[in-house]
């Protein structure tokens, strides 16, 4: 398959099951909602060492938020419900509770409940106030700038993590430009996040390592500087490879995001140095969800 001179490899991306939740962070204005949301979703690029993968899903208009203020919706993914609960609680406590004017609400209301403000309320030292509104419990925790309003719980749902595709280009700037175009298009798709910095990862990994302590190591087959040194998957003209990783609430959401992302990258075409689209295929070692590139782009 070839789109605008860009070869689409006959391969698939492998993804694995995760648990996910959505939270809504509001504040006096979008600037401060972003501060809280960026802090909460910070250091959350990969479950390998961060405990969770998180990212900003989109901005919310005041008409879309529970308290009628500007907001941000963020998605948080982890390998299991318990890890997710711990990550959500610590991040809510350290990053949102602390952020001026913020309030925190659940963004998913069906599924397994995990605490959101349920335990954070104890920060109120007995001065916290519970309010039950339309069947949902909220906590008003007195803080130095006024009150921190937080929903008692949020819900977790089954999700998919690790959807991905690789952009192979003739130069590093060209690979990055294609990634930026792809991320811009993918940000418009709901229910997905691209958890790496700016949505792009340059250090794609393979499963396993020569070092026993490591479960993952550099994807040497796609490292351009190793073309003559390892069993490479790169042709001579490829000088840079970048990866976009996608976590989504369903595999359909990931497929939609992959499609628009690959389309955007391919729109730059071979004349801009974009030569191939491939994917992180680990031979079935990573997970049960397979995203065949050519099927998605058909």
């Amino acid at each position: 398959m070839n789109i605008n001179g860009v070869q689409i490899d006959a391969t698939f991306a492998e993804a694995f099951p995760m648990r996910a939740t959505r939270v809504i962070i509001t504040a006096q204005n979008l600037k401060w909602a972003y501060h809280a949301a960026q802090a909460m979703t910070g250091f959350a690029t990969s479950v390998i060492a961060c405990g969770c993968e998180a990212g900003i899903e989109r901005e919310l208009d005041p008409s879309e938020t529970p308290d009628g203020r500007p907001g941000i919706s963020a998605l948080i993914f982890a390998m299991g419900g318990k890890t997710l609960a711990k990550q959500v609680e610590t991040r809510a406590g350290q990053c949102v509770l602390t952020s001026p004017t913020s309030a925190l609400f659940a963004g998913i209301h069906e599924g397994d409940k995990i605490p959101l403000g349920k335990n954070l309320r104890f920060f109120g030292d007995g001065f916290q106030i519970s309010k039950r509104i339309n069947g949902k419990r909220y906590w008003r925790v007195p803080v130095m700038d006024g009150e921190f309003l937080c929903e008692d719980t949020t819900c977790t749902v089954k999700a998919v993590g690790g959807g991905n595709f690789l952009i192979l280009a003739e130069s590093q700037p060209q690979a990055l430009a294609a990634c930026e175009a792809a991320i811009e298009a993918m940000k418009k798709i709901p229910n997905v996040i691209m958890p790496f910095p700016g949505g792009v990862v340059r250090s794609g990994s393979k499963v396993g390592s020569k070092y026993k302590a490591l479960s993952a190591s550099t994807n040497d087959a796609f490292c351009p500087t190793l073309k003559g040194q390892t069993r490479t998957d790169l042709s001579p003209e490829i000088e840079s490879v970048m990866e976009i990783v996608i976590d989504g609430l369903t595999d359909d959401d990931i497929k939609k995001a992959m499609r628009v992302g690959i389309e955007a990258a391919c729109s730059l075409g071979a004349e801009n140095g974009i030569r191939r689209i491939s994917a992180g295929n680990y031979g079935g070692k990573l997970g049960p969800f397979l995203f065949h590139l050519q099927e998605i782009m058909a």
Binding site: D67, G126, I133, R140, G146
Partner: protein
């Protein structure tokens, strides 16, 4: 389907307990069985069809053509709707667990007492002890919403535990006395001894009261994010409070009753 309508055949001499006439208790009953329901009438029991002419069918929607002597309307009901055309007696919606009761006139004391869930709309006035605990009990209304378009009597929300009482007229003395939690909101005036012995909970006042009890301490003026959320929560209900979510945000907060736990609050709109 027409509503099952109960119209009094004659003026009542005694008070009558109509608690057997709820959607739950009449479900799957035939017209003759409904007519044969025994109701406590003063010191004796009487068949429903001796007092009421009963028209219509089904049991999900009931209509009472009202009287101030009809007590316990909708007691313990969990679903369906009861409409009262005219006035109702005492204990309307007592122990309500769900569904909706709408009264076009006034109701007597202890309406919504110990109610758990559901909605009560009173277009007229309500008497004393609205949403309260029964005498001797310590747990009042524990959920749901009560809307009163007119005025309410004394001791409204006594021992209130959860839920909201929205009063669009004036409230009597001892509003929110001994409250444990929950919300009472008033658009009109309030009487003396507001929040007497209140432990927790919120009394939200649209107008500045004549005085704040000495046992409530001023916590200053604040813009509280939960107020628009609370008021937005009433959207879809027939209450003027739902229209105030964009305007009512800033309040003066008084904490009390400092003679007790002191974790209740009176919020006065600015």
């Amino acid at each position: 389907m027409t509503a099952l309508t109960f119209t009094l055949k004659a003026e009542l001499e005694q008070r009558i307990d109509v608690s057997p006439l709820t959607p739950d208790r009449l479900a799957d009953k035939s017209a003759s069985e409904i007519g044969a329901e025994l109701l406590q009438y003063g010191n004796r029991q009487i068949r429903a069809d001796e007092l009421f002419s009963i028209e219509g069918q089904g049991s999900d929607r009931l209509i009472f053509r009202g009287s101030r002597k009809l007590d316990y309307i909708g007691k313990g009901m969990s679903q369906g709707e009861i409409r009262v055309e005219g006035d109702a007696g005492s204990y309307l919606g007592m122990h309500l667990k769900g569904g909706r009761i709408i009264v076009s006139g006034n109701v007597d004391a202890y309406a919504a007492c110990e109610m758990k869930k559901g909605e009560i709309l009173i277009r007229g006035n309500a008497g004393d002890f609205l949403g309260a605990a029964l005498p001797g009990n310590k747990k009042g209304m524990a959920g749901g919403v009560v809307i009163v378009k007119g005025n309410v009597g004394d001791r409204v929300g006594d021992h209130l535990r959860r839920g909201a009482i929205l009063i669009e007229g004036n409230a009597g003395n001892y509003l929110g006395s001994r409250m444990t939690a929950g919300t009472i909101a008033v658009l009109g005036e309030v009487g003396a001894h507001l929040g007497y012995a209140m432990n927790r909970g919120t009394v939200l006042l649209a107008r500045t009261p004549a005085s704040i009890p000495a046992t409530f301490n001023d916590c200053g003026t604040h813009t509280l994010g939960f107020i628009p959320l609370l008021l937005k929560g009433f959207q879809g209900l027939e209450t003027r409070f739902s229209e105030m979510s964009d305007t009512l945000k800033r309040v003066r907060r008084y904490a009390g009753d400092m003679c007790g736990l002191g974790k209740g609050e009176i919020l006065v709109a600015l």
